[in-house]
C-alpha cells in the first residue's frame, strides 16, 4: 500500500514525525495520563497502559477537567508528551498546553485538526510526518521507512 497525504488544519502549527497511536475515545489527561512516564492511565480508556510519549496521538478531543492542559504541559517539560496530537476539531485544552509550553519551555508540539473522515481512517502504527502547513504524510504500518 502506498503512502498518502492528509490535509489537516494546524491549530498549533509545527513539525513532527512519529508513529501514530490512534483512539476514537476522548481522553482526560488529568487522571488519565501519567506525565512521569508518558503512559495513559485512565483504566476506563481503551489505551490504558499504553505509552504515548514521543508518538503522534490521534484522539478526537479531550474530556473532563481543564487540568488536562496542566498535565500535558508537565509532560512537555518532562519530555513525556506525545510528539503531536491529531484531533477532529479545535481542542482548546490541547492547544493551550502547546502554546504555553512554547512560552515556558521553548518547546511546543503540533496540534492538528482533521476532517472526521480522515481521522476515522487513521491506524495505529502508521508513520506520520507533520508539516507546518498542517499536511501529514502517512506511510502505512509495516512499510519500509
Amino acid at each position: 500500500m502506498a503512502g498518502r497525504v492528509i490535509a489537516g488544519r494546524p491549530i498549533v502549527a509545527g513539525e513532527a514525525e512519529g508513529e501514530a497511536l490512534v483512539t476514537h475515545d476522548a481522553l482526560s489527561f488529568w487522571g488519565g495520563y501519567d506525565f512521569h512516564t508518558g503512559e495513559i492511565i485512565d483504566k476506563h480508556h481503551p489505551l490504558a497502559g499504553v505509552r504515548a510519549a514521543g508518538r503522534i496521538l490521534a484522539v478526537p478531543f479531550s474530556k473532563g477537567s481543564s487540568t488536562t492542559t496542566a498535565v500535558l504541559l508537565e509532560a512537555v517539560r518532562a519530555g513525556t508528551a506525545p510528539a503531536a496530537i491529531l484531533t477532529t476539531g479545535a481542542d482548546a485544552f490541547f492547544a493551550l498546553a502547546s502554546i504555553v509550553a512554547d512560552v515556558m519551555y521553548g518547546k511546543s508540539f503540533p496540534v492538528i485538526a482533521l476532517e472526521p473522515g480522515d481521522f476515522a481512517s487513521l491506524v495505529t502504527g502508521a508513520r506520520l510526518t507533520i508539516r507546518r502547513d498542517g499536511t501529514i504524510d502517512e506511510r502505512p504500518p509495516g512499510g519500509r521507512c
Partner: protein
C-alpha cells in the same frame, strides 16, 4: 470507606445528608469522609446540619479532595461514593475499587459496615 463530595460537598448536600444520619452512627470499621470547602462547612454549621453529621462519625476535610491530596489511608482498597467524579477517577489515580450508590445507600452501608444498594433505581422502567 465512604467518600462524599468531589470535590466539595455543597450546603444543599449537607442539608440532605443530615436527616439521613440523625441519631445514627457509622460502623466503627467504616471511615466516612466528606470533602468540602470552608464556606460550605460554615454554612452547614449555621444551618444546624453539621452537628448530626459529625455525631454520625463523619470526618470532614476542607478545601481539597482525595484525588488532589494524598489523604487516603493505605489500607483502603474500596471506596463507596455517590460522586460520579470520584467513581470515575479513583480506580486510575488511587488504584482503588469503587462502589457507586445513592447518598442514602452510602449512609446505610456505613451503618451496616457492608455495601447496601437500592438496586431498584438501576432497573429499566
Amino acid at each position: 470507606m465512604v467518600i462524599l463530595g468531589s470535590p466539595h460537598f455543597s450546603i444543599a448536600e449537607f442539608k440532605r445528608l443530615a436527616p439521613l444520619v440523625a441519631g445514627r452512627r457509622a460502623d466503627e470499621r467504616v471511615k466516612f469522609l466528606i470533602t468540602s470547602s470552608r464556606l460550605m462547612k460554615e454554612l452547614a454549621d449555621e444551618a444546624g446540619v453539621l452537628a448530626p453529621i459529625v455525631a454520625f462519625g463523619a470526618q470532614i476535610t476542607l478545601d481539597t479532595c482525595i484525588l488532589a491530596s494524598p489523604m487516603l489511608p493505605p489500607e483502603i482498597k474500596t471506596l463507596m461514593t455517590n460522586s460520579p467524579k470520584y467513581a470515575y477517577y479513583a480506580p486510575s489515580l488511587l488504584n482503588t475499587r469503587v462502589t457507586f450508590g445513592s447518598l442514602a445507600d452510602c449512609v446505610q452501608s456505613a451503618i451496616e459496615g457492608r455495601v447496601v444498594r437500592n438496586e431498584s433505581v438501576w432497573q429499566a422502567v
